[in-house]
Symmetry: C2
Subunit: 338 residues, 2 copies
C-alpha cells in the first residue's frame, strides 16, 4: 500500500499541471490596452432608432461619421521577479485568439502560466480582427467559420478520414498527445477570421512591437507569417523569434535583416502530412535563405529529439510543458534568461 | 522648491493609480475557460478551397456539418489571500467586452485590479457573441457598429449637441470625470453587437453562475438586465448584486425570488437626461417592486452622496477608485468581505 501511494505521488509530482501550480504567481502589475488601427468615414446612411435592450428605451443612432477600425488588443502580466531579460510576446494562429495560450481545453495550465512561472513578463494579444480586438464589416470578403470536424485532420489529430461526428468512431495518429476528450471544448475557442486582412494584422503587430519591445516573440501557425514579417520590419526590436508550426513565411527578399536567433518547431507527422509537408518545406526553404544570408535558424522537428505525438496545437497537448521546456532551454542557451 | 516637490508628491500619493500599485498582486492561480453554447447543423453548402495565408498552401474546407455557437469566455484571477468571502463576477455592457474592467483608457488601473488588490477572486467574462466568446453569422438581424461620436452623448460625457469630430470643439457636462483625452482610446475597446441575442447571453451567464457561484455579481449597462434576469433564475447562487447604471431590468413577475442585497448605482446627470431619466425611472420601478416583495435594494445616485461628474462609463472615470470604494464598503457592510 505504501509503495502504491509513493508511486502515485511520484506520478503526481511528475505531472506538469502540479509542477506548475506549487507557488503563487506574483505580479508587479497586470493590465491591457488597444493599439493601432485607423479611422474611416461613412456617409449617406439613414439615422436608425435602435432598441438595444428588449424592454429598454430606444436610442437614435446616426451611422454616419467616423469609425475606429483595425485596432488590436493586448493583455500583459509583469512578474514580480523577472528572470527573462526581455518581455515575451505570444501571438496565436488563425481563427483563434490569445486564449490559445491560457488554460488548456483539458483544464490544465497552458504556456502563459508556464512562462509567467519561469519569470517572463508576458504579453498576449488578440490578432487584429479577432477576439477583444473587435472587427468591422468593412473587411474585404466573407469571414470563414470552421465546422467542428475541420481542425481534427487539418491540425493533425488524425490522418485523412479520421474525423467522425460520432466521438467513438473518431481515430487518431498513434500516440497522439492532444486531449481527445477536450476536442469539443477546444472548438469553443474558435472565432471567425477573414483571409484578406494580413496587412492590417501585420501593421497592428508592428505598433505593438514598437510600443513594448525589444522582446522575444513566440508565434503559432498563421502567426508564423506575421512573426517573420514583423521581424523583417523591426529586426532591432524582435531579438529572438520562436515559430511554432508556422503556416507561412516572410519574404526571401528581406532575410538579410534577420540576424536574431530563430527557432522553428514542428510536431509529429508534419513532414509526412500532404499539406503540412509542403508548408514545412516552404518554411525550411525560407530558413535556408536566412542562413544563406548569415542568419541563425534552427528547425526542430520534435520527433527527432524524441518528443512524439504532438499535433499542430501542441500548446494544448498533454505534454505541452515538455515542449515549453525545450523553448525555455533554447532561450536560456541564447542568453535571454538565467 | 522643497514645498513644490512636497506638493507634487502629495498629489502623486493621492493618485488612485499609485495608491493601487504599491504591492504585488499575488495569485494562487489564474486561467480561463469557455462555457455554454450549443451545436447547430449546416448542410447543402459547396466545399471550398481556402487560401488561409497569402503565399501559404490551400486547404479544402467543407462548410457542412456541426458548428459550435453561443459559448462564452471567462477569465479568472484567484488571489493568494482572499478577503472577499465569495468570488466576484464582473459583467460588461453592450458593444463592449470584459476589457471594460481592465486598464482604463487613460492607462490607469481599473476595477479588476482594484478588486484583486482588495482580495476578491475575480471572474471577467466576454458576453456571449462578443470578444473572445466568438460570434456566428447565424444570429438574427445585423450587428450594430457604433460611430466614434455616438457614446459621447449617449454615455453622458456631454449633453445633446456636445459631440464634435473636432476635438477642440467638443463640450461636456461641467466637471465631467471621464478622461477626455482618452476618448478615442476608449472607442478602440468597442466591438460589434447584435440586439437579438439577449436570451442566448442570459443562458450562457446562467451556465457561468452554475459553474462558479455562489458569488457576488457586478454588472454594467446592458449587463444590468442580464444580472437581474440571472439573479431571478438563480437566487440561490447570486448572493449579492451591484448594478452599475443598468439600462434595463428583469421581470416584475419574478421579483419575489430576489432576497439578496442589491445596490443600483447611477452617476451624474442621469436623472435629468432625456433617455437615462426614463431608464432610471424604469429601474426604480423595478426596485420598488423588489422591495414590495420583501427584497432589499438601495438605489445610490452618486451626486446625492457627494460624488459628482460621473458618466455612464464610471469605471473609466478619473475617480473610478472612489466609486469602487463605495461598492467595497457596501459589500463589507453586507458581510461579504472583511
Amino acid at each position: 500500500m505504501r509503495r502504491l501511494v509513493l508511486t502515485l505521488m511520484a506520478g503526481l509530482i511528475a505531472s506538469p499541471a502540479l509542477a506548475q501550480s506549487k507557488e503563487p504567481i506574483a505580479l508587479r502589475d497586470m493590465g491591457s490596452f488597444h493599439i493601432g488601427g485607423r479611422q474611416i468615414e461613412v456617409s449617406g446612411q439613414p439615422v436608425k432608432e435602435v432598441l438595444f435592450t428588449p424592454g429598454g428605451v430606444p436610442a437614435k443612432v446616426d451611422p454616419n461619421g467616423t469609425y475606429q477600425v483595425e485596432q488590436m488588443y493586448a493583455q500583459y502580466f509583469l512578474v514580480q521577479n523577472p528572470k527573462g531579460k526581455l518581455p515575451l510576446l505570444l501571438w496565436h494562429g488563425g481563427g483563434l485568439t490569445g486564449v490559445t495560450y491560457e488554460t488548456k481545453p483539458d483544464g490544465n495550465p497552458g504556456w502563459l502560466n508556464y512562462f509567467l512561472r519561469k519569470g517572463w513578463d508576458t504579453y498576449i494579444s488578440d490578432s487584429m480582427e479577432r477576439g477583444r480586438s473587435g472587427w468591422t464589416d468593412k473587411f474585404k470578403g466573407d469571414p470563414v467559420f470552421l465546422p467542428l470536424g475541420d481542425p481534427w485532420e487539418r491540425f493533425r489529430l488524425g490522418p485523412s478520414g479520421s474525423w467522425n461526428a460520432d466521438k467513438v468512431k473518431r481515430t487518431t495518429y498513434p500516440g497522439v498527445q492532444f486531449p481527445l476528450d477536450a476536442y469539443e471544448q477546444f472548438m469553443k475557442q474558435g472565432v471567425p477570421r477573414w483571409v484578406t486582412t494580413d496587412d492590417a494584422i501585420v501593421a497592428a503587430y508592428i505598433e505593438l512591437v514598437d510600443k513594448v519591445c525589444p522582446c522575444v516573440v513566440l508565434v503559432h501557425s498563421q502567426g508564423g507569417s506575421f512573426g517573420f514579417k514583423v521581424a523583417e520590419a523591426r529586426p532591432d526590436k524582435v531579438k529572438a523569434l520562436i515559430a511554432v508550426e508556422p503556416s507561412a513565411t516572410g519574404s526571401k527578399d528581406k532575410v538579410a535583416a534577420l540576424k536574431m536567433p530563430i527557432a522553428v518547431i514542428y510536431g509529429d507527422n508534419a513532414k509526412e502530412h500532404p499539406r503540412w509537408g509542403k508548408i514545412r518545406q516552404n518554411v525550411v526553404g525560407y530558413a535556408d535563405a536566412i542562413k544563406g544570408a548569415g542568419g541563425n535558424v534552427e528547425v526542430i522537428d520534435l520527433p527527432d529529439i524524441g518528443i512524439k505525438g504532438n499535433t499542430h496545437m501542441m500548446m494544448m497537448d498533454k505534454n505541452s510543458d515538455q515542449i515549453a521546456d525545450v523553448m525555455q532551454k533554447w532561450l536560456v542557451a541564447k542568453g535571454f534568461a538565467d
